[in-house]
């Protein structure tokens, strides 16, 4: 109660008085400080620390590798032979999977082929996919734990991933000769990318699906996904760690993979970005690291864009993707590129990697598998919350979470200030004689305005809920690319008409304010702050992005009480620029390298698909927080 009334000059605790005095001046500096903190993260001297191994049991790189003898390379040829005969027979999916299963069972693996059917978005775009897996049973254990080597038939940028399947065959041959495995090794190949892997994992974990798995093993402790696009040799590997809902694998696992790949002369760099040389200027280093962090934020906030490791992290399985990066003048890579441009589809069988490269990749995998095999417990020693600003450097949660605290603080302080400032100025006099009268007036104001404010907030959120639920309720709403854009524009029009309607209803009688804009804004800021605070602990990148697109405009929005029409128009235009349709289309088109104003494919479709398949948070956040807050900001701007 004292918090509610302290704006009215009542006696309150000293802390509240201080807050009241300074809250007006603090919220903008706090927002600036939060952003500045974020901008300081790429600067190496402040928050960076060297990575180290917490889990001593892994002993990375301690054993001599023995991958790479002629048996293992022959296994790759065997896989090629099986695949080429299966391809001659005509169809792709099933035959290809059957060929892989045949080769795997020759090496003594227990295999199974899983046929899956899935919708791209709810009710639309049915596809069929085939997963195949082979389980190498650990000789001395009882299928209690397992490690996974995964690959999709095509890489994230639509190149054939046959090299990964070949390397998997070689690894299977190699691993079946060893007796030291304490964990089963599962080799999975999917032809439906992340969704295929997600379906496989669902079946593996016994969730009810139409295509259950019968050949299984125990708990999966870690997974390694391979993406090896066609090339002769690779100059380095890219390392992708971000999960579908922003989860990250344990830092020990990332360290270990970087460590073993460096031993094998094929270093795995985060997002494929080679570190700047030591002698580069501070500014160059800063820019480089900022670029890496931006990629990291993008992948973490919107779900990993590379690799089939992303679904694993939802199942509490530490996973990452290793992706080969060809040299710029690599003949095989160039040929594949040309073929892709000419025929749109490339031949599935491509020339083999050089033996040296296969050895490096195979030995990296061998070392990684042995380290994971050494693990006695589930990964738990090292960080699960971190940011990687450079290879072998990390920023722990203690380094970056203050930025979120500052952002949330700026929202909260402003909300507090606005709450105290609501109503006419005479409510805030400190005259003790009018105390009772002031309090009565204040309560009258609250009683009259709060239902209206809440009504506006609820109505706008209802619109968001419609946006969220409509694609689920109408299962056969034909959400093709064009219609979903149309759907979006319809909702956008509806929201604009709602804005106009609300402003019409509530501000015609300007003399008797039925809604106090400060109160409205304070209420919105409260729940936006709560959302960002919760989110920052789970998925910091998404929280930062949400603050940038929804929180920051909200902090800056104010009613133009004495403002001109031009000011209002400018405010509306700025808010439209920050609206979901704009930011998402622009962001997506820039990310995918399309024309910035290409509206043919809707970004919503992508987020909706992620929500449908992986319970990704982006789509509900856009519908329930981002869009409504944007509309509410417009309403505030339009207030008289």
């Amino acid at each position: 109660m004292s918090l509610v009334l302290s704006g009215q000059g009542e006696k309150t605790s000293p802390a509240l008085r201080v807050a009241r005095k300074y809250s007006a001046y603090l919220s903008y500096p706090l927002a600036v400080a939060g952003i500045a903190w974020l901008l300081l993260l790429p600067y190496s001297e402040l928050f960076w620390r060297r990575t180290y191994f917490s889990e001593n049991a892994m002993l990375p790189g301690q054993a001599d590798p023995c991958f790479g003898n002629e048996h293992h390379l022959a296994a790759m040829d065997r896989m090629d032979a099986a695949l080429s005969t299966s391809l001659r027979e005509g169809s792709v999916g099933q035959q290809r999977a059957a060929a892989v299963a045949e080769v795997f069972s020759e090496f003594g693996l227990d295999t199974e082929v899983q046929t899956i059917v899935y919708d791209e978005v709810p009710g639309v775009g049915q596809h069929q996919g085939t997963n195949v897996h082979g389980i190498l049973r650990a000789p001395r254990s009882d299928s209690v734990e397992a490690l996974v080597i995964a690959a999709a038939w095509t890489t994230a940028d639509n190149q054939t991933n046959i090299n990964a399947v070949r390397v998997m065959a070689a690894l299977a041959q190699f691993a079946s000769e060893q007796v030291y495995w304490a964990k089963d090794i599962i080799f999975v190949v999917t032809d439906a990318g992340e969704i295929g892997m997600e379906q496989w994992l669902r079946a593996y974990h016994g969730h009810h699906t139409q295509s259950p798995l019968y050949v299984r093993s125990g708990i999966i402790q870690a997974a390694l996904s391979l993406e090896l696009p066609p090339a002769k040799t690779y100059q380095s590997m890219g390392l992708y760690v971000e999960g579908k809902v922003g989860q990250l694998p344990n830092l020990d696992m990332v360290n270990m993979v970087q460590h073993v790949s460096r031993i094998e002369q094929l270093p795995a760099n985060l997002h494929g970005m080679v570190d700047e040389s030591r002698r580069a200027s501070v500014w160059r280093k800063y820019l480089h690291s900022a670029q890496l962090l931006l990629r990291h934020v993008r992948s973490q906030a919107f779900g990993s864009l590379v690799g089939v490791h992303a679904p694993f992290l939802r199942y509490r399985i530490d996973a990452l993707t290793l992706s080969g990066i060809a040299k710029i003048n690599d003949p095989v890579a160039q040929l594949a590129q040309q073929q892709r441009e000419l025929f749109l589809t490339e031949p599935v069988i491509t020339p083999m990697l050089t033996q040296r490269t296969v050895n490096s990749i195979g030995r990296s995998c061998e070392r990684a598998l042995r380290s994971l095999n050494n693990l006695l417990e589930h990964f738990h020693q090292s960080f699960f919350f971190y940011i990687l600003p450079a290879n072998r450097k990390y920023i722990s949660i203690g380094g970056y979470i203050p930025a979120a605290g500052l952002m949330v603080g700026s929202l909260l302080l402003q909300a507090m200030h606005l709450w105290w400032m609501q109503g006419p100025p005479e409510l805030r006099s400190s005259d003790p004689r009018t105390r009772i009268e002031r309090i009565n007036k204040y309560y009258l104001l609250l009683r009259r305005t709060i239902p209206n404010s809440m009504g506006i907030i609820l109505r706008v959120h209802l619109l968001g809920l419609v946006l969220l639920a409509l694609p689920m309720i109408l299962p056969h709403a034909v959400l093709t690319n064009t219609t979903s854009t149309a759907y979006l524009f319809t909702v956008a029009l509806a929201s604009i008409s709602m804005v106009l309607h609300i402003t019409d209803t509530y501000w015609t009688e300007a003399a008797r304010p039925m809604v106090e804009w400060r109160q409205l804004k304070a209420l919105i800021e409260l729940y936006v702050a709560a959302t960002i605070a919760c989110l920052s602990v789970m998925n910091f990148s998404l929280a930062a992005v949400l603050f940038a697109v929804a929180g920051l405009p909200l902090v800056l929005t104010r009613a133009c009480e004495a403002g001109s029409r031009a000011q209002k128009a400018a405010g509306i235009i700025l808010l439209l620029l920050a609206s979901p349709v704009c930011t998402m289309t622009l962001g997506r088109n820039v990310a995918l390298g399309l024309h910035p104003l290409d509206f043919t494919s809707s970004p919503f479709r992508m987020f909706l698909a992620d929500f449908h398949h992986f319970s990704s948070l982006v789509y509900p956040l856009v519908c329930l927080i981002y869009w409504p807050v944007n509309i509410l900001c417009m309403i505030i701007v339009l207030m008289p």
Binding site: D110, S141, D142, V144, H205, G206, R216, R316, H378
Partner: protein, 541 residues
Amino acid sequence: MRLLRIAALVAACSAIVNATVTSLDTKGSFVEELIIKPLNDGKVLLHFEFTMHEAAAARNGSLHSYNLLPRQIGEIAWRYDLNELRLAFTQGSWRESWWGYAPTASHGVGAEILARIEGSAGASSHQWTGLANALSGVFCASLNFVGDENTDVPLMSFVSESGSNSSTLRRSYLPRENVCTENLTPWIKQLPCQSKSGIGMLLNPHRLYNMHFHSMAVSLDSATDPSGSGSRVLRYKQLLSVVLDPLAFGLRNSSWSLSELMDRRVGAACPVASRSVIQVAAPDVGLHIAPQPDSSNKVAGRLVHTFDMQKRNIDDIAFSFEPGTRSTYEITLPAIAAHRYVTGQGGSSGGVESIIVNRRAVPITVTYLDTLPWYLRVYSHTLVVNSESEGAPALVLRPSKSIFTPAIDRGRPSSMELELKLPPNSRTILRYDFDKGFLRYTEHPPDANRGFSIAPAVVSYRLTTTNSTDDQPLLCTINATQPQKSKECTVHLYTEQFLASLPTPDFSMPYNVVSISCTILALFFGRVFNLLTRDFVVLEK
């Protein structure tokens, strides 16, 4: 005079020895057998079986004298009123889809102890823990972890051949127990000839533990005297099954010999053995053995070569396989396959999914026994048994008999025994859910983040040796040749273990606090103690 005395002493001694030897012939018997079976994927199964028969010590007497039976075992049997005992240590899993039937019960990984103790369930409880403690001393194993909270009393799965109503069967499974040389050494010591002669000479730990499957077991029960007197005697069996990969020892898959495989040679038969044979269960074609076996006969469609070590010294047996024939071997897949997987993820709840496959065209009745520790709170109402056959819709299978024992916290595991009649050529899936309990922090094992190993479920079914030809476990087939052994064969099939990951507290945090505060205290104490005890004096020039 003195000489005479010595002579008399020697004579007396030799008389005693003679007497002992003669009594040995009449009172006990010892049989040593080794069965070698080349497996389809190039690996080799070696199954050692040592059997001793001995008259039991009198119940009321306290004088134990045994000829062949290890005295420690005889004493344990006498002290704890044992009717039957089975103890098995296993490592690795038996891969039935590649290797066919397991030689013995395909014990799951870990240690299983099963005993039938005279007396009612309540009365014999302390004897059960006493037995476990005694055996843990004998076999150097952590069997002392056996307690009421991991002991179940199965009623249907383990029916004894000579079952008496006055005794109670108890069973406990320690899934975390590993088997190693420390268990093998006392096991070898119990053999009459140890590893000094006979088949025991082959027991080379370096080779026995570089394996793909290893199961070491002892069993004690009563049987009719094999010498034909008709009286009941104790039968003590020591069993060791091991699957080795010749490739792992630098040998070729296509030709190797027993001595190369074990890095030891067989010597002469054990002198006290009444029978010592090496049998080779061979595929029909493509295998050459040198030297020639003493006899080769077909047992239930399978060729078995026998080497009798008492007729001649078998120094070594060489195996060579014709190239290309191995892939044409046909294995008879076991009638039943069973797998159990844990479902769900996360720390709050989960489930179990067991898949039992009937591969035969006849319905088979099986008993499914699943015992889960108390911290997995099973919801028996969620149990669903579905059976699907090819070309037929899935149907709900009702157990013809079922026994549920709910758990008591820290007192008793929950166990379920279901008798299921599996339709022909069908796949039956049992599903049920559990919640994960919250443990006290002292109840977590040292490697808490690994999760808790949960003992396998057991699927038991009977096969009669008369009804089909080669659809038999190896031992049942070989047993069938010997008239005194049973004609019926109960197969106990163990599923996989699983790991249940329970909510785990951050154990390192108290440790960090303790170590930091201790460090501070130590530094502070050192400084202050130093200051307090130092005597400050002014030095004079």
